[in-house]
Amino acid sequence: MKFTPFWGCMISLKYPQMEKAVRYSFEKLGVELNDENRFSCCPDPIYFKAADKITWYTLAARNISIAEEHELDLITMCSGCTSTLCEVNYHLKHDQKLKNKVNQSLKKIGREYKGTINVRHVVTLLRDDVGMEKLKDSIIFPLHDLKVAIHYGCHLLKPSEIMQVDDPVIPSILADLIDATGATPVNHREYLLCCGKACQNNELALGMSADVFQSISDSKADCMGLICPTCFDSFDLGQILVSRKVNKNYQIPVIYYFQLLALAQGASFEDIGLKYHKILPAEFLEKLEQSIAVA
């Protein structure tokens, strides 16, 4: 099993603990990675796309054309990169006129987008290529009694006709993956709500995050489990701002899915860089230690 990883600049440079956790898990699962350093930023599906859709298409198509050289699927770890690269790949495969226009630009650098590979979020690789059975077999320290509040984020599931990952209204993929680690997935009230990162009005973004925190707080989960570094940004660092704004003291640890998986596969807290997280209450670490110790 071999893939080309698209780490994206946020994971590589801001939250490298996520990259570490993915690499750790993949080694345990026998997934080989074909690292590539010619990729640029995806570029981002909010601001760069807002500036000029054609340039956005062109840079994304350049990235995909590099991945095409390896004849391996391109695997994204960040929902922003997923959004850009999946959308661009889909539209260029379906719109010949747009493809010609983009290729006209790529000619300047001797490149061509062909449309020969798929772009997929890493969680689909776990479900569809590794498979749930093999995933469960890799667990040596099941996360007993750990209640994980799911947060899907927007761009894993939507636009659904492009992503084709799961039902966008009643998804189950993250619950199944969390379940595989031995932890208990919690579908709280706002598990599908957007993190609000793209909104210019700060009050609006903080208000949305506050709803998510209250929902998780009501669910009595031990932590939040997610798959997107931008959502992580909103909820880890953002939690301090939200708490200040709504005058509450939320203490909800925010964990990238692969950090949970790697722990269950034998990684230490240090291996997965938990110490870089802003919200990390001592009682959560104790609970994590206990849940692993039961094994």
């Binding site: 600049c9 946020m10 590589s12 440079l13 801001k14 490298p16 603990q17 990259e19 570490k20 690499r23 690292d35 350093n37 010619r38 990729f39 640029s40 930023c41 570029p43 981002d44 599906p45 909010i46 601001y47 760069f48 796309k49 807002a50 500036a51 000029d52 859709k53 054609i54 062109t58 840079l59 350049r62 747009l98 630009s105 790529l106 300047k108 650098i109 490149r111 927007c154 761009h155 939507k158 636009p159 659904s160 966008p168 209204v169 709500l193 957007c194 609000g196 793209a198 909104c199 210019q200 009005n201 009050e203 609006l204 208000g207 949305m208 291996d271 860089g273 870089y276």
Partner: protein, 152 residues
């Protein structure tokens, strides 16, 4: 009295994703599930598309336009029975706002960063330190030559 500005609509039709606004029949399916609307009632994808049908250029792509509060969550895209995809129309409107230079500065900052370094997130000493602590390979990127040619 305001009248419909067809020239604005024609311009919008020529921006990728913009022409679908013509199919909107104002059912409002996009509104109920819009998280931005639920937190900021002035943000309403139905009325944004209505304004495009009227061609109200100043309100849509003038300074401090409400369009910059779209969450980009795609709920409206999922709900729309006419395949208008309000988010894509809003995104097309943003492309037009850039030409008028009425956009928030964050957009220019990000585009500049990508053009100059290939990255949105800046490489810092802290990121190198953390990667080293985690025993990750050193981060390298080789795309500048090609980007320079593309942006020339």
């Amino acid at each position: 009295m305001k009248t419909i500005d067809y020239s604005f609509r024609k311009k919008l039709n020529n921006v990728l994703g913009g022409s679908a606004h013509n199919y909107c029949y104002q059912c409002g399916a996009c509104v109920g599930d819009c998280p931005a609307h639920n937190h900021l009632p002035e943000f309403n994808p139905r009325t944004i598309i209505l304004k495009t049908l009227f061609g109200f250029e100043d309100e849509l792509i003038g300074p401090d336009s409400i369009i910059w509060n779209c969450t980009n969550c795609y709920n409206c895209h999922e709900r729309c029975p006419q395949e208008v995809s309000p988010i894509e129309v809003i995104s097309a409107l943003k492309n037009m706002a850039i030409e008028k230079k009425t956009n928030p500065s964050v957009v220019n900052n990000i585009v500049d960063r990508v053009k100059k370094s290939g990255l949105t997130v800046t490489m810092t000493e802290l990121s190198a330190k953390r990667r080293a602590e985690l025993k990750l390979p050193k981060f390298t990127i080789e795309c500048q030559e090609e980007l320079d040619k593309l942006f020339k």
